[in-house]
Subunit: 346 residues, 2 copies
DNA sequence: TGGGGCAATCATAGCGCTACGATTTATGTG
DNA sequence: CACATAAATCGTAGCGCTATGATTGCCCCA
């Protein structure tokens, strides 16, 4: 192990066809300048800029973000973890967020937790291994390990779609309890005195549960009776129909119904039609979500319109601000509110 | 620039708290062994494995995928580009694909093209800069530049949700023309002789257009009259209602309607109810998509169920196979089919 | 006793880029 | 015109990991 300096032959490597050095060479500048141009074009002279962009075009250069991210110790990826993108609410947020982030050339890495904290924990771990520029979680409820993983990261941690609990860093959303209360008050104001909440999957969907609780509480506060009928599966119109039939069987005096979301409400309306229950004369129905069909059904559905779109945009704005060096002054809460869409079903 | 060897002081760097070397040190092995353990656990002895996993746990080590990807010249990311995840069809595929890929510890990077080829091109460029393990596009129609970008990549390029055109590499989906034909044949078999297609956004949504074309062609082949009424905006129940009213005004003799998707069909059913048009007696309605409400509405909607879920799973399977070194024997086509769900609306 | 064959482990050379500091060139200013 | 100052550019040392080939230790059989 002394003399005879070990001469490693020269191991080949796979590689990228065109690198930044190739661009630099063609543009007659140093690689540093190309890198600078790509990151802060305004810091490079007009002549150099022109030569570089010409070279990039000619060579069809695609930067390697992994090399860049490794060197810069942070990537241009944003991780977002939602229960499921099949759920229109989260799809909307994901979509609006991605649209806003694209302007910053940030990419979205998507994960589905399926309402499972353990799954979420694993996804957070995977997400962190990308050294993302920010990480977005749904809701305020996470496993202890998840909290520990996120406690000391230097990037923004944003919790969306829920407000009113202990938050890790920034939370963007609204109070689901308030939604329930608003609906109860609306129904009471419409003269309803026998209220009922139709809920699906409330053992997993904390936010649906919160809406239900807010509803019951507000009804109680107003001295109005309120019942709950629920189903363990994912919300769908089919389940909404079943639940409505069951509700009227168990509580025939019911005259005002709040649904955990518009799928349930739609199913309830279908069932009312089949059972010849007049809406809203005999029974008022209110949903949550203002989905695409809600304004079109018979009768048009009174519902609460959340701000899924705004949540995504605000999250993107925050990430952008952080990227531009604006220090966040401690934990932050953004209430994006919701609005009651009063239509003819109530 | 001769003597006085430039002595660069020693520039500090941001860094990751726990690296693979830390794990190696604690486990009393070399970093190579840790790396090997992480990639091929079966190649490491039981004792070493145990020591390493203990060290990983103790240090809470999170591997840096960017460093890994850079060294290996390929990342554990899969890029998927869909028109929009707000569209339930694509949401389903994205969701099932992500679930399948998670087992391989592959992450999904999501992009929305909004039915714009130029947007898609830009997203492909961004996607490639991650050196993904595979790239998934929606449809077979892409800009020339996109094709050029993807022509020589060494990774699987998978086009989903469309079959029957020139494909870049592998295509997974079904023939939308066949969907239209199947619906037309079904309506004709049900005794309908005055057919009509209700379409939304067909100038952008090539696949809706293909369904329409297949419908018209099959009707023509059977010697049955067929009309089209369309709207430029995104499909929704509201537009479905409008289109149905317009259709009955322009073509009052119509007795069988195919809709570009279930949102339109739902709106059509709502309109029929309001206009007291009996479904299916006076008018048969068929949709596309088998969305969550389609089995619950009044009457339950006859519709075509595509295989969005299967498309995602098949794509994931292909990517997995490629990752495990199975060479693809040239361009490949997987027809995931569709099924007609005959319900009471026809 | 001497290796041949194998399994397990290791040392090393980058992957392509960014950040830092240094250097060079342009621009004032008294 | 000297000198400070700003603007533009460059050289270099890693970022944390993987792939390659080399090395070590061990068993087995002639």
């Amino acid at each position: 192990m002394d003399a005879a300096r070990r001469k490693q032959p020269r191991n080949r490597r796979k590689m990228q066809s065109v690198t930044m050095s190739d661009v630099a060479e063609l543009a007659n500048v140093s690689p540093s300048t190309v890198s600078l141009f790509l990151r802060k074009p305004e810091a490079v002279s007009a002549t150099a800029s022109q030569a570089i962009s010409r070279a990039i075009d000619k060579l069809n250069y695609v930067p390697n973000l992994m090399a860049g991210g490794l060197a810069a110790a942070s990537s241009r990826a944003v991780s977002i973890l939602v229960p499921s993108v099949r759920n229109a609410f989260f799809a909307e947020t994901v979509s609006s967020m991605q649209a806003a982030l694209k302007k910053q050339r940030l990419q979205l890495i998507l994960g589905h937790t399926e309402y499972d904290e353990h799954e979420e924990e694993e996804l957070v771990r995977m997400a962190l291994s990308w050294a993302p520029a920010a990480i977005v979680l749904t809701g305020l409820s996470h496993s202890a390990a998840t909290r520990r993983l996120l406690a000391n990261v230097a990037i923004p941690v944003i919790e969306i779609w829920e407000l009113g609990g202990p938050q890790i860093d920034t939370a963007i959303g609204f109070h689901h309890g308030q939604v329930g209360a608003t609906v109860a008050e609306h129904l009471i104001q419409q003269g309803r005195r026998n209220l009922l909440f139709l809920g699906a999957r409330m053992h997993q969907d904390r936010r649906a549960k919160q809406r239900c609780d807010g509803f019951l509480q507000a009804a109680g506060a107003a001295g109005v009776s309120a019942q709950v009928v629920k189903h363990p599966d994912t919300a769908s119109a089919e389940i909404g129909s079943m639940l409505l039939a069951e509700a009227l069987r168990l509580h025939p005096e019911t005259d005002g119904i709040a649904c955990s979301n518009d799928h349930i409400a739609l199913g309830a309306l279908f069932a009312c039609e089949r059972l010849k229950v007049a809406v809203p004369d005999r029974l008022a129905v209110v949903g949550f979500g203002d989905l695409s069909f809600s304004s079109a059904c018979n009768p048009p559905l009174t519902t609460v319109r959340p701000s899924g779109d705004l949540i995504g945009r605000e999250a993107a704005r925050l990430i952008e601000a952080h990227l531009h060096g604006e220090k966040s002054d401690g934990p932050h809460t953004i209430d994006t509110r919701f609005t009651l869409q009063h239509r003819r079903s109530s």
